[in-house]
């Protein structure tokens, strides 16, 4: 996956961008190694190398194959999906504060997930949870889209209706949490914070197709996004079918955010901050922002989860607690550094 992204870019784009992507990949590699090494038992990078080459007699089979690796991959995929989803939304809504949380996608997924946890947990296997929450996200997104429709959908209507629906959904979630028993409440809150705890290869396989198909789709659609950013009238006069493009982008965004939330819960801020970091690092190259934002989002969640599961050993804390803590300072640093530019 890493190579595929970097090679065509090498020929096509300016050096700066190539360097950014290469250094992000280097970071990704380093974070991967560190995440596989640290935990309750320290496994040195050399031993990890040996493990993947099949040497070492399988003593780390459980720790690496069943615990650390699935969690790591899931963290990356979730982060990448949220970040690209946020990037698309910020562009089509033309508002830097847009993110999957704002227009109700996360809230929709929460309603699905919490309904499931409150009413069906125990009777139906928990492996259905991702599907239910993804359906929640889709239903709410369609609802927002239909309610915002008035001879086409304008960004401002989309945001307003989205915020309204999101608020209603949050109220609904709170109501369900309040009426349920204590143990269920704890579980619901864990889900709402967003955690990669207990990730398995089954989860990874569950989210992989969505990410592998829809991030490249976002990449393909990205060229038209820049035109949309000029405003509806201008874009239409340039020959873009604004409604069609906006609908497809919104669809991609919903699917990405929905699948991420389905498997990791309501991990916040990644969809808001990661795209901004990408834009600060590589301004004015929208189609390349997709891979860059994806990498940054993935890294953010990976590092958050690394801290979450190691900083307070033996406690394992939800990664969602740290995503803002990782992204926000870096974002502020970039703003500070760029203020004279």
């Amino acid at each position: 996956m890493k190579k595929e992204q970097s090679q065509p870019l090498f020929h096509l784009f300016k050096n700066r961008i190539t360097w950014i992507i290469l250094s992000l990949l280097a970071c990704l590699f380093m974070v991967t190694i560190v995440s596989l090494s640290v935990g309750s038992t320290y496994i040195s990078p050399i031993e990890i190398w040996g493990h993947f080459l099949g040497q070492g007699g399988g003593e780390y089979d459980f720790t690496i194959n069943m615990l650390r690796l699935p969690r790591l991959i899931l963290a990356f995929l979730v982060g990448a999906a949220l970040s690209v989803s946020g990037l698309i939304l910020q562009s089509i809504i033309r508002n830097p504060l847009a993110s999957p949380d704002i227009i109700g996608i996360t809230a929709g997924a929460s309603v699905g997930a919490i309904t499931f946890i409150v009413f069906f947990a125990g009777t139906i296997s928990i492996s259905w949870l991702p599907l239910v929450s993804m359906s929640g996200a889709l239903v709410v997104a369609v609802l927002v889209y239909l309610l915002a429709w008035k001879q086409g959908v304008t960004p401002i209507r989309l945001v307003l209706v989205g915020i309204g629906i999101a608020a209603a959904m949050k109220a609904f979630v709170m109501m369900m949490i309040v009426v349920s028993e204590t143990a269920v409440t704890t579980k619901s809150y864990l889900w709402l914070t967003g955690s990669l705890y207990g990730a398995t290869m089954k989860d990874v396989i569950g989210i992989l197709p969505w990410v592998v198909v829809f991030i490249p789709l976002a990449f393909l659609l990205a060229r038209t996004i820049r035109v949309l950013e000029l405003g509806d009238e201008l874009a239409t006069s340039l020959g873009v079918n604004v409604q069609v493009i906006r609908f497809s982008l919104l669809f991609v965004s919903v699917v990405l955010a929905g699948s991420a939330v389905a498997f990791a819960g309501g991990i916040g801020f990644v969809g808001l901050i990661a795209p901004h970091i990408a834009k600060k690092l590589a301004p004015n190259v929208f189609h390349l922002l997709v891979p860059i934002a994806g990498l940054i989002g993935g890294l953010m969640v990976m590092v958050s989860d690394l801290i979450a599961r190691t900083a307070f050993l033996p406690l394992d804390i939800p990664a969602g607690v740290f995503t803002a803590g990782i992204g926000a300072p870096f974002f502020i640093y970039l703003l500070y550094r760029n203020r004279h530019m």
């Binding site: 069943m66 947990a121 398995t200 789709l217 393909l220 669809f251 699917v255 406690l315 939800p318």
Partner: protein, 339 residues
């Protein structure tokens, strides 16, 4: 240019829709397949163990997540909820690892002396799987409410038996007795408990004659609401002892009734209140507000001066057989009965 862009758009949308439909279909199949596989695996496990049943030391334990085969007598036990840790101590067994308590960390005071060398494996809601694996346990006691999603991983570490809830202290004892090969000890513990219950019932009835049984409410004040614990740990023990529940409960299907509005204070009404709350200024101010409300003063327990503050840990959080016995001790003392 215009036409080209437009056509491309249509093409894109068609692609998206088609792909997503394919994906959904594919995912659906995948789920079914993996479930079918799991079932098959379970079947094979079951047949295997049937064959082995003749060997003396192999036991099949049925629990909330299916049937688990346990060989020999487990010695390195990890307990993943408070009630199980409590029960292990009651069995006279020191677990190698246990989850952190909610208060008085790492373990509740009444268990601390028995758990000096026990490794903390994280919180009940998210125990640290690597820590558990490091302890190389041969039996894990879990709870479905908390650990259903990590059951497969736990089972990969060691045979894991899981209970549905966290507060059914008697079932925890029988489940653990079966899993640890200590059935006799389990029966002894439970018989002892049943005898004590009978003893209490006899004495309290003798003392209060026709006044008995009392209605009792277990109350809890939080920063923003109050609760009535209808069943749960304390509630189920009180009803086992013969107490009746709150007098004017509108909805008795709930384990815990959350009251957010002071007008529902009447729901609490009973002859005697046992209340517990966190030591926190916000909670205390709620308590003050609620108890200053005119409706509070009309409640029978308040008029009888039968409002008792009890230990939150013993009455609610610990959820084990030892805690149940301590709660019973507390009741003996409060009714001034001879133990």
């Amino acid at each position: 240019m215009t036409k080209f862009l437009f056509r491309k758009n249509i093409f894109n949308i068609l692609t998206i829709l088609l792909l997503s439909m394919l994906l959904l279909a594919a995912c659906g199949n995948e789920d079914n397949e993996s479930q079918a596989n799991e079932e098959e695996e379970n079947d094979t496990v079951a047949t295997d163990s049937n064959e082995e049943e003749e060997t003396a030391n192999t036991r099949e334990v049925e629990h909330a997540m299916g049937t688990t085969t346990i060989e020999g007598k487990p010695e390195r036990i990890v307990t993943l909820y408070q009630g199980a840790t409590d029960a292990a101590v009651a069995f006279g067994i020191t677990p190698v690892g246990a989850v952190e308590s909610w208060l008085q960390q790492p373990f509740y005071d009444y268990l601390k002396d028995d758990l000096t060398d026990v490794t903390v494996v994280g919180q009940e809601t998210q125990p640290n799987l690597e820590e558990i694996a490091n302890l190389k346990p041969d039996l894990i006691i879990a709870s479905n409410i908390r650990h259903e999603e990590i059951y497969d991983q736990l089972s990969a570490i060691a045979p894991t038996v899981s209970h549905e809830t966290v507060y059914a202290f008697k079932e925890t004892v029988s489940l653990m007795g079966e899993a640890m090969g200590e059935e006799e000890k389990a029966t002894e513990i439970l018989d002892d408990w049943n005898n004590r219950v009978e003893d209490f019932k006899g004495k309290v009835e003798e003392k209060y004659q026709d006044e008995w049984p009392f209605h009792a409410s277990v109350l809890n004040f939080r920063a923003d609401h109050a609760r009535i614990y209808v069943t749960g740990f304390a509630g189920s023990i009180l009803s086992e002892l013969g107490f009746k529940g709150p007098k004017q409960l509108s909805d008795d299907s709930q384990d815990v009734l959350k009251l957010t509005d002071k007008e529902s204070i009447t729901e609490m009404n009973a002859d005697v209140f046992y209340l517990f709350m966190e030591d926190d200024p916000a909670v205390e101010s709620t308590y003050k507000e609620w108890t200053e409300h005119p409706l509070w003063k009309d409640l029978d327990a308040v008029k009888n001066d039968e409002v008792h503050q009890v230990d939150e840990i013993i009455w609610n959080m610990a959820g084990g057989i030892k805690a149940a016995n301590l709660m019973l001790d507390d009741l003996y003392d409060r009714f001034d009965l001879e133990k």
